[in-house]
């Protein structure tokens, strides 16, 4: 069985959610299928500018074929076109123009898919909202499987996506909430789709004490992992945390691991560590009182799964349906819709080690039952198997 994974970026250095998701799945499924990745030469997700060499190469044992993006994304043009389609009355052509500006626009990638359709049994497209998925699925609808990695944002309501989301042969969803959202928006209940998610690569050993020693942290700490920007719930988390400290007199520290495009407040108990190696990240998780996930837009939240894999409780933004749903299903975390709930939830977590332990154990059990790699692989195999049995 020869399967192509089609994704906007691919590489060992690329840590974006959907791209990392695709790479991990491709690497795991290569033990069952003949896997090839079709992608662009881009490294930067803002401009899609060519970075890697064109043509074929092997990355971690996976055959990768890269195609150029002749015109990098123009942020100003994209911003203007996004304003038109999200805030003004517009036509389908405006939506297509937005898609052209969104990118990554790679005509060579699309031509390759069209010309080599017969060489592959199926094409698994990642991320519904990008140029490669929109045109790629339309090129090979009979062989297209879509992993939408969709978030609840305004773009999902664009009219042309309604038609696109009815085209693939099957879907692989990240969460129940994502499936419900896509089926509501597009009416594609007849298209088969499994809720699968993704596993995670947790190291064999994660040492919280080592992290504390290396960074001189002696107090209990709340950990955030990921990019620091507005979509991820900043600067609201800073406001809430600083206020919590003032009102309760708690000695907790907020540790931030990840790059920031926003200014970080100068506060003695807010510790930005920037980008850290993987082992350091997992050590930080192992020693944290809880992971805080303030993001408004998530399709799955891989870091939340990583926290549960290490039996850490989570404090999540309840206004994100996916995070709220995951906390409820797993019984592995609390959530908040506003500052008072953040305050009470955090007080509860910091005040009770048995509660943290019980939530962490629940999260770990939930992870083991749903997100280990053998389960993920079996669901991918099942999806393709069912398609093969269809007349």
């Amino acid at each position: 069985m020869k399967i192509a994974f089609v994704v906007q970026r691919y590489g060992l250095e690329i840590s974006g959610g959907a791209e990392l998701h695709c790479r991990w799945v491709a690497e795991h499924m290569s033990s069952h299928w003949d896997v090839e990745v079709l992608t662009t030469r881009a490294h930067d997700y803002v401009t899609w500018a060519d970075y890697y060499p064109a043509g074929a190469e092997t990355v971690n044992g996976i055959a990768v074929r890269r195609f150029s993006v002749p015109v990098p994304r123009d942020r100003d043009l994209f911003g203007r076109r996004q304003q038109v389609v999200l805030e003004e009355e517009h036509t389908e052509q405006d939506e297509l123009d937005w898609l052209e500006a969104e990118g990554p626009t790679s005509p060579d990638l699309l031509s390759f898919i069209r010309e080599n359709e017969a060489a592959y049994d199926y094409f698994i497209f990642f991320s519904y909202r990008y140029w490669h998925s929109y045109w790629g699925i339309q090129a090979v609808p009979g062989k297209a499987i879509l992993v939408p990695t969709a978030e609840r944002d305004a773009v999902i309501d664009l009219r042309f996506f309604k038609e696109l989301l009815r085209l693939p042969r099957a879907f692989i969803y990240n969460s129940e909430e994502e499936r419900a959202m896509i089926q509501t928006v597009s009416g594609n209940g007849a298209v088969p789709g499994l809720v699968v998610g993704v596993g995670t690569e947790v190291p064999a050993e994660a040492d919280g004490d080592r992290f504390r020693r290396n960074h001189g942290i002696s107090k209990p700490y709340l950990l955030y992992l990921g990019r620091i920007d507005e979509n991820k719930g900043f600067p609201e988390l800073f406001t809430f945390f600083i206020r919590f400290k003032k009102e309760t007199g708690s000695d907790a520290v907020l540790v931030l691991i990840g790059n920031s495009i926003l200014p970080i407040p100068e506060h003695p108990d807010i510790l930005p560590l920037g980008f850290r190696p993987e082992q350091d990240k997992f050590d930080a998780l192992a020693g944290a009182a809880a992971l805080v996930m303030p993001s408004f837009f998530e399709s799955l939240s891989m870091v939340t799964l990583e926290a549960w894999a290490l039996s850490r409780p989570v404090l999540a933004n309840g206004r994100c349906e996916v995070l709220r749903g995951q906390c409820r299903r797993s019984n592995g975390g609390l959530y908040y819709d506003n500052y008072p709930e953040f305050r009470e939830g955090l007080k509860l977590l910091l005040g009770s080690a048995p509660l943290r332990r019980a939530l962490g154990d629940n999260g770990c059990r939930y992870f083991q039952e749903n997100y280990t790699w053998d389960i993920i692989e079996e669901k991918y195999l099942e999806t393709v198997r069912r398609l093969g049995q269809e007349p």
């Binding site: 206020r243 019984n331 506003n338 008072p340 009470e344 939830g345 009770s352 048995p354």
Partner: protein
């Protein structure tokens, strides 16, 4: 409050939790109740990045003129006093002015688009209606053709049926005649044999 045992529900901060069977939804319901019951403490307003701009200078209402011309004199004096600050006032009011300009421009663009749509929509609607009528006419023609074809096919079926009936009748008649021919042949043979026997007898 680090309670070591997990057995049965425990209360933490007025929230009851069953450690053996944690139900996050139930815990969150209690958290929401506690959060709603505890009023928010007033917080200091965030430090302003820059001082708030003073309102633009407005003409001060003149005092009741005690004599004609006093209003004008006072106004003149006030404007002179404010004149050195005018650039600052204009500068501080500039962002607001620019916002208003941008909003007006956007509203204007929206209005123009609405006007264009209002003009264009009936025309396009009429075009679409005309196209639909053409399609409907073509469909009607095709339906008539289809009806005629169906009638013709029905006739062919009838013809088919009748031909089969006639062929069957002919076949039956053919079989009957063939049987008769066979009988006549046998009779003829018998007659010929009888004739020979009689001839033999006559000659002998």
């Amino acid at each position: 409050m680090n309670d070591a045992s997990h057995s049965g529900p425990k209360k933490i901060e007025d929230i009851e939790i069953d450690y053996d069977k944690i139900d996050v939804e139930a815990v969150m319901d209690q958290v929401k109740q506690v959060a709603a019951a505890n009023p928010l403490e007033p917080i200091e307003p965030p430090p302003a990045a820059s001082p708030a701009p003073p309102p633009p200078a407005a003409p001060v209402p003149p005092p009741a003129p005690s004599a004609p011309g006093l209003k004008a004199v006072l106004k003149d004096k006030l404007l002179r006093a404010l004149r050195p600050f005018a650039p600052v006032v204009r500068l501080l009011g500039l962002p607001l002015h620019e916002d208003i300009q941008a909003t007006i421009k956007q509203l204007d663009q929206t209005n123009r688009r609405l006007d264009a749509l209002a003009l264009e929509t009936p025309v396009r609607f009429a075009e679409v209606v005309a196209e639909l009528e053409k399609v409907r006419d073509r469909l009607n023609d095709r339906m008539s053709d289809l009806d005629r074809t169906m009638e013709y096919v029905k006739l062919l079926h009838h013809l088919d049926h009748n031909i089969v009936v006639e062929l069957t009748k002919l076949r039956i008649e053919f079989e009957t005649l063939r049987s008769k021919v066979l009988i006549l042949e046998k009779d003829l043979d018998a007659g010929v044999q009888r004739e020979r026997i009689l001839e033999k007898q006559l000659l002998s």
